[in-house]
Symmetry: D2
Subunit: 307 residues, 4 copies
């Protein structure tokens, strides 16, 4: 398949959509990104990359980090994790407290905010202190991306912290139901740093390879998790990866994927390739508007939907 | 792959699970089925079938009929259908009114009861009267199953009608929001007949072939819908096919599927095969307990999950 | 106190409010009433009446009938009634299904629609058939109003029935939770007739006397219920008489009262008087806009709030 | 009326109820109170007091403080307050986040926790710093109780703070909706001290006099608020004073009142007397079980319900 040609076609076809979405504005720093950026990258199992647009531009990966933290938590904590977080779609926006209260502090899945906070809490419990926890997560992400320079943006982390009332509400609610080991504030300090990790689409498509393959890196041969677990993770990305638009993403794109409010999306074509797209304008569900469309075009053009 | 051997292994491994679930008891007729029945069948693209257990036993397909009605409605009504029913997982039990009221009478997806009632309403609008509507649906199911003898069980339909207060509540609520064309009672009369259609696992696995393939029957060459649409239908089965256990089914089985309270489940391995299982004892989510496990064993043994 | 003068003052002060509300339009017949009608009447314990405006104009009492049906059900069914209906404010609009589903078919109180339907079901169970049930209720209302000519408007009842999908949904939902003895349709046929009873403000203020006094009529000496029960009924009117604006009514008016979408409101000043007001334009909560204001002016001018 | 005799009768009649409720145990200090304590006091308009039981025993007034803080906030902030907090019963437990999220951070009324936190936030805004705010509130309570020695228990305040995750969740949720001026933690520090104020039933029944009378103290003649406002406050206590058992309290007791999880309840007989009862065992709604019964006996024996 001529992936480069497909990327070029897509980059032309999405042009009319600029200006239709809205850059995230819940923190000042994110609202300042250039709305016209666009980038897309594909990494094949042998490491070959195709890319188009601003593919060196790093951006805040935000909720995409939930996939990495979840993988690490599964490894360090095992299936006991499922006592504390479910595997069902939430049917609600990413930060709703309603379901969480009805379900007594057990979040629906690890890819909504409440679930991701539980995951970070688990990592903090496993790795004991905040520094080690963050380092373990960064190491993991550097390993799967094969890029030692990946780091988080402390200005963004600080800014998220100072506007993070909704997440504080979620964390405190779970703590009141005894579903956090650590103090809410301590968990959130790590969580906001994790969300503020900066990567570009090349890094992100590369980072998908362990999910494309069998849990190990097909190039470096490092082992990260089991085949059984990557099937679980991919299934969760499909059913829960896009908040209350997860059904729509599955419906239109047909790939396991995960989006972040920074404008990035990652997706997996099992056994074939990892893909990532970046465009900061969001649709009404908080997912990259152009990014979603670009991935829909990709599966239409290639026939690579899983369905 | 030696499908027959795999079916035999599965039929042994699920033996210890008999007695752990509960046969549906909301209508007297369903509660009388033999809880020890078990059947499983596979149909390949060329029509070859593998089967085990009580594979000639017909049972009430119940909610599995929603897949067939939805396909027919898409053909007769087109994408305007999506103004009246969504494509998101509901995160709630199959018959919850809560979400329906908050969302002003628009059901989350066509595979929860409210959504299926809207679909039947659409068919009745398209085909004008109840007789024609039911006949069109039966014809379609006979065509895709390649079995002219399929029919509905009028005793079960009558029994459902006389205990159908919850569905009457759903239909009336949607009517109050102007999301039904016809009178609630007229729609439900057809709906309950549709749910009371009787098939066996051979019929059902055969009926999946149009979803396995490209919307047409690979054996008879009859065309039913487009490739684009079967991808949508499969995606919806994956994210919404098992009520509030859809995430768990995707997580453990990893195939698009649809269950019914009669104890049947159908599933699709894209491009390869259709599969169906029958075991009337249900788990707490209203899905066949042994059926779900049998399908999990199937994807584990064959590696045929879509993830 | 010069009640006549107070009524005259009020009738002047509410003039600027005409046109600010909206006449009920969920059934065609109600939407045709003259929005400029206004009437108010007071009946003292000795039967003396003061009135102003269109006090002979009869109108559909609608939800005000819930007070009378509840009184009758308490007498015929006793305190077992509280197993089937609560005594708490609902905090939700009059016809919400959400709370009803969470609370397994037990309505919050007898003055929301679901609760009133349970009450009518109870009357039908007690009095065996629809004719007797309706006659018993009419007799009771004629007795407490001391007016033998009160009847229901069958055109309005029919019209409510043909648009009554929301109430059908409520009734069917409760039936599915086993909280109706009779078939939903049979209960609603009586319920809509009960709501379509026509009275004027003189009748209604007179009808309050048994609640003003000790459960018996201070003029005719007929006994209807006990002192203990009228305290319960008055307390329920205060906390639950105006749907999700009950708190506001208590806050601004400070009297036990009940409104109907026909534009009428009744209220009770314990030990002193019954009062009724009529003005068909409704506020956003479905209560008479001018009627509510008129009663607020009444308690401000007379100091007769219970607080 | 022989109030002393009535108190004596009540104190005998409630004896069999000891042991049926449960002392609050969400913080260790509260769980250690003696469950067998019982006290009741009445203060007439002229200051005469009647009392029985452990009437010198001080206890944590907890949510009763919401009445005092609300009165003070009305005085210092005026009716703009109603933009930030409603006047409707919540129909939900005292600490539910669900309604708060649906209603975009505006609490239903000032007597549920979320509403009381908004009130404390308002006081902090009016009085600028935490010390002044707490002092103003203490001064007000000392004034209306005519007892200069009233203070808060700092051990209880600290303990509440360290277990106050649910309230932190509420405060952060409201802050995320822009309905707090100050930082959640700063508001809660004052809020928990306010809840930890210690008083006995004599103080509390005395403190009601401004609500019995016309907003001023009938003995000391100090003016606290207007007649109009005490009617509002009394109405709110009646409809919202007992969380999701407010309707039941109105139904059985028939007086404006407010309870606290410390086991205290206050109530008002307009124009006649203030009353308070203390018994630490709570019913399932978090209100004093024996206290509620004692007040029901009081209105039954005296006929002093407002209905």
């Amino acid at each position: 398949m001529d992936y480069q040609k497909i990327l070029e076609e897509i980059s032309l076809e999405i042009k009319p959509l600029f200006g239709l979405g809205k850059v995230a504005n819940y923190i000042p720093l994110l609202s300042k990104v250039n709305p016209n950026k666009f980038a897309m990258a594909i990494t094949l199992l042998d490491g070959t990359q195709y890319k188009i647009g601003d593919s060196n531009e790093v951006f805040s990966i935000q909720s995409i980090s939930k996939v990495f933290a979840f993988t690490l938590a599964l490894e360090s904590y095992g299936i006991k994790l499922y006592d504390r977080v479910g595997v069902e779609p939430s049917g609600d926006p990413f930060n709703s407290l309603i379901q969480l209260e009805y379900e007594k502090g057990i979040p629906r899945n690890p890819f909504i905010n409440a679930g991701a906070i539980v995951i970070t809490d688990t990592l903090l419990k496993s790795f004991k202190d905040d520094k080690t926890t963050l380092n373990k997560l960064l190491e993991f992400i550097r390993d799967i991306s094969d890029n030692k320079n990946i780091n988080y943006d402390s200005d963004i982390a600080d800014s998220e912290m100072s506007f993070g009332y909704k997440n504080m509400a979620l964390a405190n609610l779970m703590k009141s139901f005894d579903n956090l080991y650590n103090e809410p504030i301590d968990v959130l300090k790590i969580y906001f740093k994790q969300c503020a990790i900066s990567m570009n689409v090349k890094d992100l498509s590369r980072a998908m390879l362990y999910l494309v393959h069998n849990g190990s890196d097909p190039v470096t041969k490092k082992e990260f998790t089991s085949l059984r677990r990557i099937k679980r993770i991919n299934s969760l990305m499909l059913t829960c990866g896009h908040y209350d638009a997860s059904g729509e993403f599955a419906f239109h794109v047909g790939l396991p994927g995960k989006s972040g409010v920074g404008g990035g999306i990652v997706a997996v074509v099992p056994n074939i390739l990892g893909i990532s797209v970046y465009s900061p304008e969001l649709n009404s569900h908080g997912n990259s508007l152009i990014g979603t469309k670009a991935l829909e075009l990709f599966t239409t053009k290639t026939g690579l939907s899983i369905f």
